[in-house]
Structure formats: C-alpha cells, structure tokens
Amino acid sequence: MNTHAVRHFGIRIAAILLSLLLLCGCWNRRELDTMSIVLGCGIDKGEKPGEINLICQIEKPSPAGGEGGAGAPAAKFLNVVNKGTDVFTILRDCNSQLGRKLYFPHNQVLIFGEDFAKEGIRKQLDFFLRDPETRMTVMVFVAMGKASEAMNQPTVMEGAPVIDIVNMLQSQENTSEAPQIEVLDLLTALISPTTSAVAPLVSIEKDGDKTKSVVAGTGIFKGDKLVSALNGVETRGFLWVKGKVKSGIINFPFMDGDVSLEIIKAKSKVKPILLPDGTPMVKVEVTETSNLGAQNSMIDMSSVEMMNMLENRSAEVIKSEILYTLQKTKVLGTDIYGFGDLFHQHYHKEWKAMEDKWKDLYRDLKVEVTVKTQLNATGKVTRPAYPPVQKQG
C-alpha cells in the first residue's frame, strides 16, 4: 500500500470516527432516568393577578419487582404544581423541584381551569404550540372548576387520571356528547378572525361519598375567553352540523311510549350561499342512518308505515337539536361551526366586505336545515314482548 492510499484510508477512518463521535446524539443524550414523562398538563388561575398555577401530571415509574405486599397500591402518577406568570418559566422551576427534566412528547392532555379560561388562554397556550417537543395532537379540555381537581380524581381503569379523561373522551363517540378537540383544531379556530373555538368539558360529579370526572358538553370561547357552555344534547346539535356524530341514542316519545334509535352513521354537507341581494345563507344537509334500539310501547313498529313515521319523527328531533344549538350560538354571537371561514373559502372576493360585519351577520344568518334519516333494522325481534293486538272483525 503506498503512502497516498494509506493517507486516504486514514482520512476515511477519521471521518467515520468523527461522525460516530459527534452525530450519535451524545451531546443530546437523555437517559430515561433523567426524564420525567409528562402525561398531562393543566393551567388554573393563580391567586395574584396575572399569575397561573401549572399542574404537570407525571408518570411515576413502578418500583423494581412489582407492587406486591399489603396496603394500598402506590399511585402511578405525581402531580407537580407550580405557580408563576409564564408557562415556560414555571416548567423550568418544575425541573429543579423534581431533579429531572420534564419530557413532553408523551403529553396527551391540556386542561384549562374554568376561571383561567374565562380570562383568556392565548398567552399561555403559546409554549404548547411553539416548543419542538410538544405535539399538536394533544387533547384540549376545559375543566368546570379547577384543572388541578380534575387531574386528581380517583382513577377508574388507568394509572393516571388524565389517561382516564382521554379514554372517556374517546368513548364519547358512543354518545356524541363531547367534541374531540386537539391543539391543532384549537389553533385553527384561534387564528380565524370569525370562528369561535370550542373544547370538551370535564366536570367533577359526586358518586356517593366519592367524586369522579365526567367528560360531557362543550365550552365555547369568544376570542380566547370562555363565555358559555353547551350541555350533552346541545353538543350533539353542534356535532350533527360538523359531521362528527359517530354514534348515540335518539330518544323521543312516540305513540303510547318512548322509542330509542341507535345512530349507526351520520354525515353532513354544509354549503354557503350568497343570495342575489348579498345576504349570506347556509344550507345544512344531514344524512343519518339508525336502527331501532328499544321501545316501551306495545305497538309493532316493524311495518313500513311505522318505520317511515319513526324516520320522520327522528328527523324532526335531529333538526330541533341542530336549530336549538344554532340559536344559542347566534345569541352569543359565536360562530362555532366555522360558517364565516366557509364563506371566505367560497366567496373570497365578497368576504372582504363581510369579514368585519360577520358577528352581526351571523346573528341574522339564515340556515336551512334538511335532515334525511333512514331506519335500517329492528333488531332481533320484530314485535315487542306483548301479545299481538287482535284485529277487529
């Protein structure tokens, strides 16, 4: 091997070693036992003006050898609470309390306390949008009361209360009484000049002598301030228009009893229309498919005639839910549906004149709701558990 080749070989080896040394992330190494994995964050209003309380729910690693032995099992989480005026500064203080650096990529939940949300969330939200570690898929909630209380409830199935809360929200698909809002959705609404942001509500209910978290309902923001709330049924009225109703039960009195229809699927089509005189109008078309879930009357509802009547009645119920929620938001002047953005998308030239007046235009906005329902099946039985009605001779 001549000198030239040896030198070249040496240079290549040096390059490989240098790359191995510098680029394996040694500078950026983060050992697992130096990290506190954050599962959820909550922000409450502080005692002093401008101050906030930040709660970080951290996963507590299990002790080696399992948790055997007598006595209550150790909590699998730890709530670290600190106060200050700025989220980022408070988080650095948390690091010094714990002796470990907070690790955000596994954060699943962001809960705003009611009092804090009423004063505005925008300023403190910025850290969660900007930091490279945090993710835009974090679920956002508003706690009725304090976020710290919601994050400290006894767990039902999971090790940490925030995971319970996320699971409860995901199981809301069965009732469609709370929207699933991520930080990305919240950001999209907050940067829109006309759309009002929403977030699911988490409240604390008494269950005997215990308390538990319940996820149901929707908080409505005006700008970044919480102004009102929708209950479960009103939330469904909102979700019908957004096309986000996946399942649920439609209950209504019918004939001599009550009927429950199980929603199988639903979708919506929303079309903005600018009338010749410049008045905005929105056409909402909801298509829904359901099955007969239960009835407590003695009438046989499996006939085509009865099914048609049930379809018409359920369409009326759905329409009334939609219109009720719509009217409530019109009174508040909060366009939670994003109708303004729809007009911007479809009529961007005319939108320039409408944008500043949208709050007033929304209050008087004509919304035409059409609901088409289809009843598919009656279940395992056709007639209820009553003897058949004898026909008069």
Binding site: A15, W27, P132, R135, M136, I191, Q345, H346
Partner: protein, 369 residues
C-alpha cells in the same frame, strides 16, 4: 482538464439524480407556503413552467457549444475577461448555495433533533463526508440518486395514504386569495432556488456520462422532482389549510399528525432521514460543480485539490451566514427570489441575448462580405 468519470452512469441514474436534486428542496417548503398559502400548488405549477423556459435556454446554449463547460461557454460568448467575470458570478452563487443548504439542514437538526449539539459538530462531519465523496468521484454520488429519489417517492406515497383521515378538501380554498405581488413573489422564490438551480446538474453531466442527448433526460427528471414537490404542497395544504402561513415546517408537522390505529405514529424521524440523505446528495453535486467551476476559471489541471478547501470555507460560511433561523426564513421568503433570479435567470438570458446578437452580426458580416 480531464473531468471524465472512470465509470459512466446510465441514463436512468442520470434521470433520477436530476429528480433527487429537485426533491432535496421539496421537504422545506415554508418559504413557499408562508407567502402563497392555499395557492402554493398554483405557484408550484407556475414556477415549473418558468423553470422549463430557463432550462430550454441553457440547454440550447450548451447544444450550440458542444464539448464546452460553463466557463468555456461564457468565454466564447462574452470574451475572456468578461466571460471569467460572469463565470465567477456563477461560482459565487453556487458557493453561497452550498452554505445555504448546509445552513438549512443544520437549522432543522439543531431545532428538532440535536438541540444541544453545537452547530459546528454537525456541519464538520457532514462536509467531511461530502468532501470525501466528491474527491472520490461524483459518479459514485450520482449512482445513489435513484436510491434517494425512490426513497422519497415511496415515503411520499405512504405518508399521503396515512394522512387521508386528516385531509379536508375545503382546506384547498380559497385559491388565489392573494395580491398579484404576493403571488409572483412566492412563485419567484420557488422558481429561483429549488427549480431554477437545476442547471447545476447539467454542469456535472460531462463528468458522469457520455450521453450526448441528455436534454430529454433532464426534462423528465425535473418533471419528476416538480411533481413530487407539487404533491407534497397539495398534501400539506389539504391537511393544514389556514395554518400553512403559521408553521415553520409544514411537511414535518403534517407527518407528526399521522396516527394510524395507534400503531403508525411518530413518523417524523422518517422525514428527518429522507431530508438528510437528499440534502447530502444535493450538497455533493453543488460542491463538485463549485470546485469544477473554480478550477476551470483559473485553468487548473484538476478540481480535486480545491474540494477540501471549498468544503471548509462553505462550512464556516454557513455558520455565520444568518444570525438566526428567523433571519434565514425572512431572507428565503423576501430576498431569495430576487437574489436567485439574477444568477439563474438574468445571467443566462444575457448570455442568450449576447449569443444571438453575435450570430446576427456574423450573418450580417457574411452577407456583406
């Protein structure tokens, strides 16, 4: 100077290398989407059409001067002194381009992956590998072009399918809700830097291939790269919609949203990998052409001794090119278009016009004599 490669690459390798060169810029699209917003895809199509015209002009000039590189072409058109000045302008453009690309990659790695690592610890090994690759022979880098291009195409298809649940067709609206100035500014930026500098690949061709008629190969490769860029822009618009102008890395954020049955999540590392390999490819081609141009300007026997020096200089230059990431983003959105247009549009146009004038004068002289 003998720049011919020991082993020639095939036309397929050349085609996908041209595509990979364009694809290298398709993953950092904030400078397009920040200005053009939901009209980014229209700007991409317009920039592609403009770049085709520029490419056609350059290929015409090279066809009329067979066997000549850029420096010889400029000498023939402008004369020796003016030609060398024009060639030096191109050299400066490509030199800065190397540093800009290093800075982009460094900025991404420092912000998202290796935030505590000093930038120099990333830049030095990166340029060391590029210098070794270029000194070894640019044909070995071109042979990797199809692999890198295919890697991005496959990941693009997979990510697009996985992002379908996050896509909202309404996010494509409103289209062309911009002033003409905003539209042309965004289109010019896209045309000038990622699309317009494809001519640099043409300068590297004589070293890697004996193919005489590479015109159609370059056009096809450019089209593949432009289509990939267009698909990326469309997907990001469908997913992010009005957030496009707020986000520093739209593609990165889109991929971060992927969640398929809680199994396929956190795919952002794949994005980082694809970005690094494509940028490495582009850096090698740029460094090679930069060294080649300087060697031809000073009539050196070989470009190889210049590679290490230029590698070091571009690495150092990249570290103080911009004071911060926001300065870099602002330059990319507002100044890069004008800066790039001078070198990859005005200079070639000037060369074309002067060449035509020379042809006309020759014909007139032939008629009178």
């Amino acid at each position: 100077m003998n720049t011919a490669a020991k082993d020639q690459i095939s036309s397929r390798d050349l085609l996908f290398s041209a595509a990979a060169y364009v694809q290298a810029s398709s993953l950092l699209t904030a400078f397009i989407t920040g200005t053009l917003r939901q009209s980014s895809w229209v700007g991409t199509v317009a920039a592609y059409a403009l770049a085709l015209i520029l490419l056609a002009i350059l290929l015409f000039l090279f066809k009329r001067h067979p066997g000549m590189g850029l420096v010889q072409l400029n000498d023939a058109v402008f004369g020796k002194v003016a030609g060398r000045i024009v060639s030096f302008c191109y050299f400066f453009f490509i030199f800065t381009l190397v540093s800009l690309n290093i800075g982009d990659l460094n900025g991404f790695l420092n912000s998202y992956i290796l935030s505590d690592t000093p930038p120099i610890a990333i830049v030095v090994p990166l340029m060391l590998v590029c210098v070794i690759a270029v000194r070894k022979g640019i044909d070995s880098v071109f042979r990797l072009g199809p692999l890198f291009s295919a890697l991005q195409i496959i990941t693009l298809i997979l990510f697009t399918v996985m992002l379908i649940p996050n896509m909202k067709p309404a996010n494509m609206l409103p289209v062309l809700d911009l002033t003409p100035k905003e539209f042309w500014q965004g289109t010019n930026t896209l045309y000038s830097l990622p699309f317009g500098d494809l001519f640099i690949v043409i300068l590297a061709i004589p070293a890697v291939s004996n193919i005489k008629n590479y015109k159609s190969i370059i056009f096809k490769g450019f089209t593949i790269g432009a289509v990939i860029t267009l698909l990326i822009v469309i997907t990001d618009t469908l997913v992010l919609g009005p957030l496009l102008s707020n986000i520093t890395l739209p593609r990165f954020l889109s991929i971060r949203l992927i969640n398929v049955a809680d199994v396929f999540t956190r795919m952002d590392i794949v994005y980082a990998y694809v970005l690094i390999v494509l940028r490495y490819f582009k850096l090698c081609v740029l460094l090679y052409v930069c060294s080649l141009l300087l060697a031809q300007i000073f009539e050196l026997k070989s470009y190889v001794p210049l590679v290490s020096t230029l590698g070091i200089l571009t690495a150092i230059y990249s570290l103080f090119l911009f004071r911060s990431g926001s300065e870099s983003s602002e330059w990319a959105a507002n100044t890069a278009g004008i800066y790039g247009t001078f070198f990859n549009t005005l200079l070639p146009l000037l060369t074309f016009i002067v060449y035509l004038i020379q042809l006309l004068l020759k014909k007139l002289k032939a008629k009178t004599s």
